[in-house]
Symmetry: D4
Subunit: 256 residues, 8 copies
Amino acid sequence: MSTREALESLARLPFETVGPATVDHHRSLRQHLPEVILCEGKTVPQCVTIARAIVRRSDRCLATRASEAQAEALIDEFEDRAEWKEEARAVVIDRGVGRKVRRGKAGQGKARRGKVPRGGSVLVVSAGTSDLPVAEEAVVTLEFMGVPVSRVYDAGVAGIHRLLAHVRALRAASAVVVVAGMEGALASVVGGITDRPVIAVPTSVGYGASYGGLAALLAMLNACAAGVTVVNIDNGFGAGYAAGVIARQSRGRKRG
Amino acid sequence: MSTREALESLARLPFETVGPATVDHHRSLRQHLPEVILCEGKTVPQCVTIARAIVRRSDRCLATRASEAQAEALIDEFEDRAEWKEEARAVVIDRGVGRKVRRGKAGQGKARRGKVPRGGSVLVVSAGTSDLPVAEEAVVTLEFMGVPVSRVYDAGVAGIHRLLAHVRALRAASAVVVVAGMEGALASVVGGITDRPVIAVPTSVGYGASYGGLAALLAMLNACAAGVTVVNIDNGFGAGYAAGVIARQSRGRKRG
Amino acid sequence: MSTREALESLARLPFETVGPATVDHHRSLRQHLPEVILCEGKTVPQCVTIARAIVRRSDRCLATRASEAQAEALIDEFEDRAEWKEEARAVVIDRGVGRKVRRGKAGQGKARRGKVPRGGSVLVVSAGTSDLPVAEEAVVTLEFMGVPVSRVYDAGVAGIHRLLAHVRALRAASAVVVVAGMEGALASVVGGITDRPVIAVPTSVGYGASYGGLAALLAMLNACAAGVTVVNIDNGFGAGYAAGVIARQSRGRKRG
Amino acid sequence: MSTREALESLARLPFETVGPATVDHHRSLRQHLPEVILCEGKTVPQCVTIARAIVRRSDRCLATRASEAQAEALIDEFEDRAEWKEEARAVVIDRGVGRKVRRGKAGQGKARRGKVPRGGSVLVVSAGTSDLPVAEEAVVTLEFMGVPVSRVYDAGVAGIHRLLAHVRALRAASAVVVVAGMEGALASVVGGITDRPVIAVPTSVGYGASYGGLAALLAMLNACAAGVTVVNIDNGFGAGYAAGVIARQSRGRKRG
Amino acid sequence: MSTREALESLARLPFETVGPATVDHHRSLRQHLPEVILCEGKTVPQCVTIARAIVRRSDRCLATRASEAQAEALIDEFEDRAEWKEEARAVVIDRGVGRKVRRGKAGQGKARRGKVPRGGSVLVVSAGTSDLPVAEEAVVTLEFMGVPVSRVYDAGVAGIHRLLAHVRALRAASAVVVVAGMEGALASVVGGITDRPVIAVPTSVGYGASYGGLAALLAMLNACAAGVTVVNIDNGFGAGYAAGVIARQSRGRKRG
Amino acid sequence: MSTREALESLARLPFETVGPATVDHHRSLRQHLPEVILCEGKTVPQCVTIARAIVRRSDRCLATRASEAQAEALIDEFEDRAEWKEEARAVVIDRGVGRKVRRGKAGQGKARRGKVPRGGSVLVVSAGTSDLPVAEEAVVTLEFMGVPVSRVYDAGVAGIHRLLAHVRALRAASAVVVVAGMEGALASVVGGITDRPVIAVPTSVGYGASYGGLAALLAMLNACAAGVTVVNIDNGFGAGYAAGVIARQSRGRKRG
Amino acid sequence: MSTREALESLARLPFETVGPATVDHHRSLRQHLPEVILCEGKTVPQCVTIARAIVRRSDRCLATRASEAQAEALIDEFEDRAEWKEEARAVVIDRGVGRKVRRGKAGQGKARRGKVPRGGSVLVVSAGTSDLPVAEEAVVTLEFMGVPVSRVYDAGVAGIHRLLAHVRALRAASAVVVVAGMEGALASVVGGITDRPVIAVPTSVGYGASYGGLAALLAMLNACAAGVTVVNIDNGFGAGYAAGVIARQSRGRKRG
Amino acid sequence: MSTREALESLARLPFETVGPATVDHHRSLRQHLPEVILCEGKTVPQCVTIARAIVRRSDRCLATRASEAQAEALIDEFEDRAEWKEEARAVVIDRGVGRKVRRGKAGQGKARRGKVPRGGSVLVVSAGTSDLPVAEEAVVTLEFMGVPVSRVYDAGVAGIHRLLAHVRALRAASAVVVVAGMEGALASVVGGITDRPVIAVPTSVGYGASYGGLAALLAMLNACAAGVTVVNIDNGFGAGYAAGVIARQSRGRKRG
């Protein structure tokens, strides 16, 4: 394929103008994920309008960082096809959502699996109870992508034996998402234990000199363990998506 | 495997005290990569001592961010087993380095491949000529891991047609490393074109309000394209290593 | 004209003391724009008092960053001469505003044109739906100046084909205003496509390490494309005004 | 012109791979300016190689932020076609440079004009003697673009009568470049006096809490006068280029 | 006086424990100003308790940064001896306050003078209408100290003729307080016009890259005019107090 | 004890999964302090659930940074065993709390002592009235640990004689906690007077350029007096705990 | 005097164009201080040229922050009229400098006095030995202004008895300059002891989290003692000048 | 002892003026440590002069952060009484230094002990080889204080088994000093393992977003483990001194 051909293919990409938004219908093909709506900063009508355009074409849609008002409006619009994942601040819109993604409740244990993909699975580890919403956002994203996901929550380094109990799981996953606020040390410790790709998510959990997640962000960027990469503060979706992409193209492995 | 078993296995891990350093011999097993030496901040004798301990056990060693003096001392010590990758500021020590990693010169084209692994390949994209040392550090790391790697250099967004000419390659790799300084916009654009994991490396290239790579770092953390994760400023090694880990566990794919 | 003559002319400039404010009546002559009121930080009575003094002399007035309360008070005061541009958070006060500036609704398409000036036109491009208020502030400012303005909204670089569809418009305008939050990469890409002056407005849209627009601001200041200049975060007015001044002294050009 | 046509035209754009660099030959067409080399961060051989590729095609080239070593190598390469503008830290390479751009010495007065363009002229104002290199970089850029340029240097606000003596010139230019370090107040004062587009360049001149130009940068971004836009710290080239683009499309005006 | 004598005199200084507060009764002797209460961060009962202790001993008290609730409680406590200066967010408690400090309303003109001191007077200059609360805090403080004070408000540098009209007043005062937000350029311009001590107060007025007054603070610290000193952001009290201390020990001068 | 034995002991540490939390029961053994709950960032049910799990095992629990709603829920749950220390924003849960920790009211004087430990005592010094909540958090923590504690409040350096009156107490304690906002100078002065370990707590008390405690934090980190160590902004618990640990292992000393 | 008259008087102010500099001869009249040259950032020839222009008109000149090369060139130019104050990094050029400013050596004791002015005197206090150059810059400036100045050096708060020994002097001066790096606590303590205006100079002395003087700067801006104003980091000249202006208009006072 | 008595005792404290320095002879009594000289920022003669004054009185002196030139001058001055601890960048001056502090070489093992004090011992743990100089500064300080000290070096969390091997030692010491750069996670992990006071020292080891130790500093301030306090970046002396003070007043304990 020549440059010209590549560009021509770009020119044929579908998009649609919906009020002030330009919905990129191609993304669902290009990235194997329907358009995701970041609700934060959008008005309620904008969220609904964009979701309607996406669902019209892709049948599914994920709305993240949804306020209660935005979530209610989306539930109203899509009724039994939409589910409000409160802990993750997300709304999942899917044909069979009542059936397929029924149990998104956070807890210690295996998350529900959608249609099992060809690849591997992802482990989501969080440092503290307050990191829950961000960790759950990653979990919901992975579930939406159909990637198997497990949880290890509240395993911060101050009581490192809580983490060491999961060494086997840390080495079995195709990718590990580490969610931590405060000093973010968990990413380094996990990165030193597993040889799998580690996606670190700093959270804004903390106070004072945590500077809204900056301390954790810097710590993770400077992690002394190789193989750790980082996403934006509180960006559970981004971490989940990146881990999902890795897992999907992975050969998977036997569970230890 | 219980917590106790996991901890016991940790207790059996090998390490060795060498002067003020504690060499972690287990890492080569655990992470499928012999200990890598970050030369920056170490004295010349420390570099040599640590390298000696690693090579004694693993037969191979990678020394990054080596000054000219450190590189010379390592070459002196390991003679024909060591090679000074000047553009990457790295020294590769390997049994058959004269034969196996001969051609590390930066350029536009395919990098040499070591023993082809089971997995996929990596594409390293850089924004400008000044980003070369960081991009080459990623390339050398990938070569050292035995992962096939290709280069697209000087393809910044100010002349976006230079990048669009490589759309096919961007979609064929198992992972893409994007190296950019200044405003770091290349990561977002690449992330929007490919559905592969993108590891973004901000570089300290720039002046004034680039703040030694901070502008690029923030831009990459805020990349509007999903699937982009970020490593520390100028951390070519980290990006190469993370991309290599992903590629090795990938199923690979046909080249487009 | 000697220094003394220039200073004497300064001494003759009109201004008026209105309560705690000193209204600069000369600005409408000097800058071809009646005094604009930045409502943020002013009490409701202060806004009304200052607007009254300006309108008494210039017959027109633009109030930006108006809260709902401030807007209502201005509408009450000037009745059918004032219009509340809600999306732009601005109030336009003009003799014939009911007739002349009727349609300020945001959308994809041409903005209404006032009395066509001698010069060229301006294109306002925005990256995401959440950037709308800032983009509309620029549009309202340009309309108030009587400069023709077109809109391309929600054309962020994550789906770059949405932007490439407007290459012709990007090259036809006398100046381009680029409005983007998050990583602000749009300014660099636009700057690489057009040879027109590009005024970049970082917005506070984003979260975490976007630091209220800092990430976009730094990215735009470091834009690798030449010809990009930057205004304050969320300063739609400033960008619109600067672009309008450029367009008015431009020779214009044939539309592509 | 459709999206597809626009993209096809992008696909036909010329570029050339020269070692690790990818020279964008299209820019000279697209932006009416041959490729400019930012020498900082490049090796001496890289500078020469890139310059050779540009000159081979465009006959002219501007190298900015050149160290003495880089400048000497370029002079050696292009001999009588190249001139070292020491105060501006720039090398101008042009066919008739001995004849055409002879006098680039900084001073108070008119800069030399190349082939007079159709449009207006630019005035470069600086706050202090130490801002000279940045101001001269803007001047050299404008001369290279063939835009008439005048200088008012060392006119900081601590002795505001020095600036007021040039009110007429500030209002006659098609665009004004303001170069200032320390507190950068000059941009606001100039912006209040003229109704022309003002491009402000913060410089790293200062000490202590000037933070390498940050104080001036923030001040200029917050300038209370409308019409002021800002470029990166010390970016004389960017300011000159943006002002030149504005001036070239301007109708010009009678000198007051 | 020996060290021992000095320390002994320190040991004899009066203070009083009032709940969690330790009121420093000596300050009214030492600094010729009764204890001033910074209400921000204190509970309503704490404010009243401390005020009571001070007034019991000194008969007068100034409460700054008082919320409406704090102000009401103080008025309730001290009845006709207390006055709520709403624009300055301050409460003045004084024996004859009904008679002596009656007119604290902000405006353009002379502030009321208490018992005329031996020294000079102070001029308070502000850049914009939104800077009013901080400027008035300085004025109330000076009135409380009995120092004559005049006001020049809304004289920002964007319309510099508004400031130049007051050159005579700027040179007649014993000290000038300059209150400005946004880019804070007013301090430099005033410092260049007068040879009097200039106390600059950055305010948090502004948005985006003003960073809550940081831009103005840095600009004022880097003021190119000599004789400018700076206080904390929004610290109208501190500026007023420092100017008052200077004025009181000044010989005063004829009004020009 | 060998590495393996140490690790085995780690493996035997008790923890318990309670919903999304993993309660570390070992901490009460390991650190002689039952699990402490940082309520901030947790939901009300999470606080209660975790407290219940801790109390079930340890009989005691300390909940810090509790909102009113969290405090009420804990009081409801544990009734007469819980006490709401409002000034310290803490809830103490203990068997005999009605009897043992009855008097936690802040004031000048001795705090109540629990079962007197073998070691020394701690002195808590605060700079201003607004620092009270943080100082009281330290006091409550020390009381909960059973360490004798005294208070010196509102002894900031602006009236240094208030501090000098307590020189004897400063030298008698086994550790001194210094709580100060604004410029945090108190830590340096105390550190210069006593030879005891000084734990400095910067508070977010202040405004403008105090940057939420950053000014005090930096000042304390740079304290010119040796022996000063620092905890996070507003971290009264951390300072109290560290001081308590020091005091408990101290030999104590005669009171001066 | 009307606005017009004021502006006319501005128009008559003398200035002179000397190469790239515009020397403001009016300042010596307006501010009772000949033009002062900030040598930092200027070339050696620029320093000499500007000094020559000033001395030609004013007979005296002060050059601050002079490098050794700049100082030597000035000494060469003005020979016996110039003196190199090495500790203050300043060159004093004066007709009778051999006679009048002979002894500028730093030490504990009285600085030399020029022609005694009508007003008061200034005390310069420094915290540590490393603050000497900045303190001496203040002293040289005051001597150049003819203001009596005394020194108290190395009196940091870690050993507060060293400062308390000078309480009398602190209260006798018309203004106090406090020079301190690290945590800058000295300004608060001095401000609490004296009722005189305190000009605080943060210095870049320190390491780590002193951030080149930022810690001291923030501390001084947040000084809890009233009457403290602040200048730029290391700005000994600015502090000296401001204190000198205050002292000159002071009535002075008996020495205690 | 009354306030007056305390102050009188302060008044009797000895100090000595030595050139520009004021040596605080009392500190050796007050803090049981002779005056320590921070050489950084002082000239060579200043270092020698101050050292001479201290030794004259106390017979011992510690000079930290000494450059090679400063160290040589001190060795020259005090000959066989001084020792250059090169790795710690310190000079120890002591009567019997040749005999008493002979072996300061860094390594894995026990540091030499001076006269064994009544209290406990200190363990110094470092994360990487490059942290050596800071760790050794702490060790030298502790040796100088006569406190027993042990070392565990290069035990960063990326290979956590290296640290776990020392669990017993971590729990036996009276205080633990943790020295770490990059992400500083070691402090949290150590704080979770031991119940002893942990003094954390962030180091400037790292690159890019480590920001000269800021990442480690923030991480340590936010350490999720209780009992961790922090000193300035690279402040090995401060950490050693604080740990030493704690150890000296500790009852010590049996070695596990």
